[in-house]
Subunit: 313 residues, 2 copies
């Protein structure tokens, strides 16, 4: 059934999950972005309002990932004749490493699909979301958009052809997330990474990702924690994140299963076995950062199994 | 309860499973090796007989992996005062890439542990088996000894500390295995491999290992097959295996889920969904090799969940 107005929330996401660079990610309960789509008599896609981005995002419909993705979607299903007004309400920081552009893109795509009576399945929206990421980040990665769109924990097994696998989320798995207010542009963080790695270290890395996936399937929290090591990318990226090793120590001392960088940072996250521990870790890290004069946002979240959802305006 | 004589079978194994270089492996129902241990009044470990190796294995007790592992075991549990005679009956080819030394070592260790009333658990035997591999192959890998000892499909998540995870084997998973009679020494096969790899290819590889592990847990045979790709090691090792790509084509055309090199070769294997398909593939590959003037051994096997077992002499 088609609608006149849709209001959608899509979640922030943590990509990589330490040992799964470019292939693993999971969705958070909070934060996230909201998009409102409204039909209008004026043909075309109109980006009428963006709030919460501090003026950082493009206002031209062709350059903004939300409106551009909606346009691509409409072209694909042959509905370019309709008129749509888009409002984007960013409720999460831009450039945080929490999949900010993915949350916006997914919210927009889920909204337009819902507005038109869901002609496509969620999975079918994925290629459009990846295209949106390419526009926003210069690289069409799926490790944020896949969990933002499908919810839960996802594995991007392959890009050609696209093959995204839903992994199970053990029931008592929670995330403590902190976004320190320091600037680490995604493009720069990617460029610092070595393009060649030693086979020996790569073997360590894929032993760990295999261990992490096993731990998720068996709800073996200890194995999940033992597997959360990144010998290849983290040592380089951690350089750009002030207090990284101090934050890790605080998290691990407070009972985290594992700790690492969210996406390309500067946000960090810990997996823990209870909401209380997650809250304690978030608070300990934020206090520490504050002592160093670094402001931050802290989040305590379960694994968001739902992905994007319609909300009341 | 201690015994006077023990006769043990331990299975051949397929290491790597295509995308899990150095970390994955599984045990076969056949072939395998047999070891007989008999108490004697003469103190010490005596290697009294080896059959089936064509004279290729060391006859000195200190240099043979079976007797050397038994000695290390006895030293560890403080029983060097006893006398043991060892017979090793090789019932599988040496240098085949099917974990020949691992089968012998595991048979010996399981036999001595059983002879002495099982003072150690199976898992506790693993470090001794890895030491045995180091003696036999110059490198203490666990990707053959772990499945030979524990049965099933195993993941060596980490060596330091040693962390071996048992993975589930879907019920209808079978292996077609062919050992072409060509010589590919393990040491040379290892040395040909690049020590540096591109991060991009490593990401493809760990996407696949994560997919394979997921497929094993969900018994998703199609996903298992889609994940069985090795972009890093196979292209190099395949050079040493005549007719490799022709064998793959035969296997895939006949309905294999995936196909690859067993360990460092020259044996190859296919995963399939029925014993009949496995038999058809083994036979097709062997006929093809015969036309090229290459003799071979063929095996059709389920996943051996048991590992080593006592047998009647």
């Amino acid at each position: 059934m088609e609608k006149d107005c849709v209001h959608v929330f899509a979640p922030a996401t943590v990509a990589n999950i330490v040992c799964g660079f470019d292939v693993l990610g999971f969705a958070l309960d909070e934060p996230g972005d909201e998009v409102t789509l409204r039909r209008t008599d004026k043909t075309g896609v109109h980006l009428v309002n963006i709030t919460g981005d501090g003026g950082r995002l493009p206002r031209e419909a062709e350059k903004n990932t939300v409106s551009a993705s909606v346009m691509t979607f409409l072209k694909h299903i042959g509905r370019t004749g309709i008129g749509v007004e888009i409002e984007l309400h960013k409720q999460m920081p831009v450039g945080s490493g929490l999949g900010s552009s993915a949350a916006s893109t997914v919210a927009g795509l889920f909204a337009i699909n819902t507005l038109l009576g869901s002609p496509l399945s969620r999975r079918d929206l994925l290629p459009f979301a990846i295209q949106g990421e390419a526009l926003a980040c210069g690289h069409g990665h799926a490790d944020n958009v896949a969990p933002a769109l499908l919810g839960g924990i996802t594995l991007v097994r392959s890009y050609e052809p696209l093959d995204v696998i839903a992994l199970p989320a053990p029931q008592s798995l929670y995330a403590a997330v902190v976004f320190p207010h320091v600037d680490v542009p995604t493009r720069d963080a990617r460029q610092m990474i070595r393009t060649k790695v030693s086979l020996k270290e790569a073997v360590v890395q894929w032993g760990n990702i295999a261990g992490l996936v096993s731990g998720l399937f068996t709800a073996d929290y200890d194995l999940i924690g033992r597997s959360m090591h990144d010998v290849l990318i983290e040592p380089t990226r951690a350089i750009l994140i002030p207090e990284f090793y101090e934050m890790r120590k605080l998290a691990m001392d407070a009972g985290a299963l594992g700790f690492g960088i969210s996406g390309s940072g500067p946000s960090v996250f810990a997996f823990v076995q209870s909401r209380e521990t997650a809250a304690r870790i978030t608070s300990a890290i934020q206090s520490h950062l504050m002592q160093q004069g670094i402001e931050s946002n802290g989040y305590v979240s379960g694994i968001n199994l739902e992905g994007p959802r319609e909300v009341n305006s």
